[in-house]
Symmetry: D2
Subunit: 343 residues, 4 copies
C-alpha cells in the first residue's frame, strides 16, 4: 500500500508489547518491522508469544540506527525511566515516537521529581510531548513528534471526569476515586505478590497515597477544569482478573448542575467518538464489555441522598489503557482511519 508505514516496537516482550503486535498485525497500513528485546535477542516471537507463530517476527537487541533507517514510527514499551535514551535520537532522525511509559506524561519537572524520586533525564521533552489521549488532544497529536500515551488508570478517570469539569458541572475539589485493576497492569513482572496463588482469591488496595499515576490525573483534570492545581484522592486495588480497570469516581456538583446537563456534556464530548461509550441511564460499566477492545465505557448515577454524583468507567488496561490508545494515536498522526487495527 502506497501510504503504508513501518513500525518498531521497543520492548516487545511485555504485555503492552504483545498487545501492540496483536493490533498491528491486523492493521491495514502499518507493518511491524522491528521488535526489540535484550532478553530474547535472536529468538522468534513465537518463543515468547506462541500465538504470533507464522508472523515471521524476530526479537533483536534495540538498535537506534537500525530503527531510524527502516521505520517511520517507534512505539516504546519500556519500564519507567528508559524512554529518553531512545526517544531523543529517534526524534532527531525524524522517527515519530509513541511512548507507552509514564516518562513524558507530566508537564512539571518538579512533580516528576516528587513522585519518581529523581531528576527527569530530559526535561525539555516534557514540553515537547503531546499527551496521547485522542478524545482530548486529537489536533495536537496530528503534528506531534513525541506522544506520551495516557496511562491506564488516568485514561479511565480522565475520560469520565474531564467533560464534567470542563462544563463546570462538578467541582475540581474533593474528587475521590477508587479503582480496580487486573494483574496485567503490573506488567509481565516476576515478583512474589504477582504469582497466581497470591493474587487469586485476593482483593487488596495498594499505594493508597501518592500512587505515581496521581500527578498525571491531577494535571489533566486541572487542565480540563481550567484551574492551576487539583488535589484529589486515588486508591487503586489489585483484583484477580487478567485485564480491565474499573474506576468509581465521587464528584460534587456545582451550582447549575443537573443530571440532564451531565448527559449533555458527555454527548457533546463523545457523540462522535468511536471509542467512548456513554451508557444510558440505569446501566453501569462492566469490564467484560470492554476487554480486548479499545472502548471506554462510562456510566453515572446521581445520589440525591448526599447530593453527590457517582461516575463509573471501565476500560481494558492493555488496550485503551496502553497499546490500543497508542495505535489510535498513530492512526491520527499518520492520517489513517482512526479505527484501523482496533475493531
Amino acid at each position: 500500500m502506497s501510504n503504508s508505514i513501518r513500525a518498531a516496537i521497543v520492548g516487545a516482550s511485555g504485555y503492552s508489547g504483545e498487545e501492540l503486535v496483536r493490533l498491528l498485525l491486523r492493521h491495514s497500513s502499518c507493518e511491524i518491522s522491528v521488535i526489540t528485546s535484550r532478553q530474547y535477542d535472536g529468538k522468534g516471537i513465537e518463543e515468547v508469544f506462541p500465538r504470533f507463530a507464522g508472523s515471521g517476527l524476530k526479537f533483536s537487541a534495540p538498535d537506534v540506527k537500525k530503527i531510524a533507517d527502516t521505520c517511520q514510527v517507534a512505539f516504546l514499551a519500556l519500564p519507567h525511566g528508559l524512554a529518553a535514551e531512545f526517544a531523543i535520537p529517534l526524534m532527531k532522525s525524524g522517527v515519530k515516537v509513541i511512548d507507552i511509559s509514564a516518562d513524558f506524561r507530566l508537564k512539571s519537572e518538579a512533580k516528576y521529581k516528587k513522585y519518581y524520586k529523581e531528576d527527569h533525564p530530559s526535561p525539555e521533552l516534557l514540553k515537547e510531548a503531546v499527551y496521547g489521549q485522542p478524545e482530548r488532544y486529537r489536533e495536537k497529536i496530528k503534528n506531534a513528534k513525541l506522544i506520551a500515551c495516557a496511562g491506564c488508570y488516568p485514561t479511565s478517570i480522565i475520560l469520565a471526569t474531564a467533560p464534567l469539569l470542563a462544563n463546570k458541572l462538578v467541582s475540581p475539589e474533593n474528587i475521590i476515586v477508587s479503582s480496580m485493576s487486573g494483574v496485567s497492569g503490573a506488567g509481565r513482572k516476576v515478583d512474589l505478590p504477582y504469582i497466581f496463588p497470591e493474587c487469586n482469591e485476593s482483593l487488596r488496595a495498594y499505594s493508597p497515597v501518592g500512587h505515581r499515576h496521581l500527578p498525571e490525573i491531577e494535571q489533566e483534570l486541572a487542565f480540563a477544569a481550567g484551574v492551576n492545581e487539583i488535589a484529589m484522592n486515588f486508591v487503586p486495588h489489585l483484583v484477580p482478573v487478567n485485564r480491565g480497570i474499573n474506576s468509581t469516581i465521587f464528584l460534587n456538583p456545582l451550582p447549575g448542575f443537573s443530571v440532564e446537563k451531565v448527559a449533555e456534556a458527555y454527548a457533546q464530548a463523545y457523540a462522535n467518538e468511536r471509542f467512548v461509550r456513554v451508557l444510558p441511564k440505569g446501566k453501569l460499566p462492566d469490564t467484560k464489555c470492554v476487554t480486548m477492545t479499545n472502548t471506554c465505557e462510562i456510566g453515572f448515577a446521581f445520589d440525591e441522598h448526599t447530593g453527590r454524583l457517582i461516575v463509573l468507567s471501565a476500560i481494558d488496561n492493555v488496550t485503551k489503557g496502553a497499546s490500543g490508545q497508542a495505535v489510535q494515536c498513530m492512526n491520527i498522526l499518520f492520517g489513517f482511519k482512526e479505527t484501523d487495527g482496533l475493531l
Copy 2:
C-alpha cells in the same frame, strides 16, 4: 457436655447455612439438631454439600414446633422478609433467635419501608433485636432474645470506622465508601448475572445509589458518632472471587486528629478483640489473609496531600460477614468461649 446446647439452622441450603454447618460441626458445646430446607426436605446434607457426608444431618421442612421442642437456639439463614414468621413463635417458645438476614437490623420502620418498599411485618421486633456485632454490643448480646447479625458490607465498614467517629477524630459528614465483594455475597442464587462466564474476568459496580445495606451502615455509624443522622455514599462492586469483602473508606479529619490518635483509637477498641486485626503502619488488608476466618483486618493511611484519612478493611463475607459472626454471637449469648468453633 453438660453445658451443651442444640441448634437449628433454618434455611440451611445456602452459603450462610453451609458455613454455619462447617463452623458448628467444630464447636465443642453446640450440636446441630435440625437443618431445614423446603427444597431438599428429606435429603441428606451430603446431597447438597458433599463435604458434610458422615455428619448424619438431614434436611427437613421447617417446623417451628419441632425446633422449639429440641433446640435452645435457632439460626435463621433465610432470604429477606421471611425471618419474622419463624422468629416470633420461636422467641415465644424461649428459643434464642440469631438472624443472619437484614430483617431486624434497622431500628427505624420508616427506613425499612423506604429501602425495602414495604411495611415491616413485625416492627416491635425492630426494637427488641440486638445488633449482632460483638465488638460493639457484647453486653447487650449476652441477654438478647433476638440477635440481628450485622451485614457483610456493614461489618467491614462499621468496624473500621466506628472507633474513629466515637473518638471524634473524623467527621460524620462526607463519608465515602467503595467496596468489593466476592460472588458468594449474592447468595446461592441461580440468575444470569451470576453464572461463571458473566462474573469471571468482570469488574462491575452495582446499586451505586440506595443499596439496601446503606441505612444499616448509616444507622450504626450515627450511633457511634453520637449524631442523629449520617448521609454517606456507598458503592459496592462485584468481583470474581468466591469470598471476601474489601472496603475503602474516605474520611475527613476533625480538629485534634492525628495519625497517632487513630492508632490509639483502634488499639483501645480492639486490643482485646480476637477477631479484629489492626495492621501496623504501611501494611494494607488483603482478603486472602482473612478468608475462611472470622477476622476483620483494618489498615489506614493518611494523605497529607488532601488531608483525608483512608481506612481499608477486609473480611470474609460468609464468616465474619455472616455465619462466623453469628456463631460468635451465640458463644457470647450462651457463655461459651467466644472463639469456640471459630479458630
Copy 3:
C-alpha cells in the same frame, strides 16, 4: 462490495451467537442482516451485549420467510433439537445453512437415538449435511447446502488424532481422551452448577461415560482410520476458565511408527492450514495461546517407558470450537478468503 452477502444468526443471544456477531462485524464481505431471539425480541443487541452498541443490530423473533427474503446464509446457534425446524425451510428457499448445534453431525440415526434418547426429526438431513471441519472436508464444504459444524471437544480431538490414524501410525483401538473445558462450553445457561461460586476453585469431571460428543468423535476418527467402528473413552472436565478446551489423548503406536513420522503426518496435513499450529518438539499447547482466535494448537510427546504416544491440543471452544469454525466454513462456501473475519 459486489460479492457481499447477508447473514442471519438464529439464536443470537447465547455465547456462540455473541461470537458470531463479534467475528462477522469484522468481516469484509458478510453483513449481519437478521439476529433472532424470542426472549429479546425487539431489543437492541446492546441490551444483551453492550459491546455491540453502535452496530444497529436488533433482535427479532425468528421468521423463516424474512430470513429467506433477505439472507444468503443462516447460522443456527440454537439449543439441541431445534435446528431442523429452521434448516428445512431455509434450505428449500436456497439459503445456505450453517448449524452450530450437534443436530446434524452424526451420520447414523441409530447412534443419534442412542445418545439423544429420541428419534431424529429429519434423518434425511443427516446424509445431506457436510461435517463442518475445513481441514478435513474443505472440498465438500464448497458445495454444501447444510453444514454441521464440528463440536468443540470433537474439534480439539479430531484435528489432533485424525492424521495419525489416516497414516496408520496409531491404532484405532484403546484411544483414551481426557479433556477440560471452560464454563462457556455449557452455554449461557442459568443453572446452579454453573454459578460462579460453584465453578470457581472447582475441578470436576462430568459425563465420564456416554457424553453426547462421543459418537461424533468416534464417527470421524473411524472415517479417518478407515475402519467401521471405533470405541474409545472420553472424559470431559469442567474447569474455571471462561474459554478454552485442552485435550490430552493417549494413543498406541502401530508397527512402523516413529516420532518423525508423526511430525511428518502433521506437516502433511497442516503445513498449509492457517488455523492449525503444530508445536515444535518440547512445546505443549496452552489454551491462553489460542483464546479469542480460530487456531488449534497441537503438541505431542512419545513415552518410551510405556510405548504410548501422548497428543495434546488446545482450542478456544467458542471460536475454533463453534463460531469461528462456522465463519471459516462460510468463507469456503462463498469463496471468500478463508481467514476473513478471523484474524
Copy 4:
C-alpha cells in the same frame, strides 16, 4: 497437657509450611516450637502470613541442635534434595522426622537417580523411611523414625487405585492417568510461568512424560498389586485454581471384575477411614468439596462401551496432598486422635 509435644517446621515460609502452621495451631496436643526460614530469619510469622498474627511465632535460621533440644517432631517442608541434611542429625538425636518432600519416598536408588539425575545423598534412609500414607501404612507409621509423606498427585492416584489392584479387580497394565492441579502445587515459587496472567485463563499440560512423581506412583501401585514393576502413563495439567488435584484414572478390568466388587473393595479399604469418602453411584468428585480439608473423594463409572473402568479422585494438594497428611501421620506416630487438628 501431659502428652503434649513440641514440633519444628523446617522451611516454614512456603505453602506447605503455612498449612502446617494453620493445622497445628488448632491441634490439641502439639505446640509449634520452632519455625525456620533463612530468608525471613528473625521476622515474625505475620510478616509473611498475616493471618497468623498473634501466634507469637517467629522465623529463625534452621538450627539442628536447637530443634533437637526442644522438639519431639520435625516437619521438613524443604525444596527437593535438602531433607537429608536435617533428617540424619535429627533422627540421631531422637527427633521423629516427617518429611513432606519427595526425598525419601522411593525405595530404589536407581529410580531416584533416573528421575532426579543425581545420586541419592543418603540411600540408607530410603529403606528406613516409611511411606506416609496412613490408609495403607498405619501400623508401620506407628513405629517410624522417618516418614516420607506421600506426594500430592500420588495420594490422589494411589488411594483411588490401590484397593482395586490389591483385589485383582483391575490390571496393573495399561494404567493411564490424567490429573489437574492448582497452582499452589508449584510451591510459592517466583517464576514467569506462575504469575497470575500466565496462569489465569490458561489450561496446560506439563511433563507429560517422566514427571518426578511417576516412579513414586508406580512403586506404590506395584506394591498394592503385588507385582515387581508397573509402567503407566501420568500426565499432569496446571489449571487456574489455588488448591486442588483432580485425577482421572483409566483402568482395565480383570476376569471376575464387577462394579459391585469395586464398591466392596473400596468399602473394605475405607469404610473406617475418616479421610476417604467414596461417593455413591452417579456422583463424581469435585475439588471444591475437599479444599481446606484432609479428605480424598473417590468416584467411579464403568464404561460398558469400552469395558474400561474410570476412577476419579479429588484432594486438596496442600492438605491431604501434603501438610494434612503429615499431621495425620504425626497423630498416628504419637498416639493422638487421628483427626486432631484436621477437622
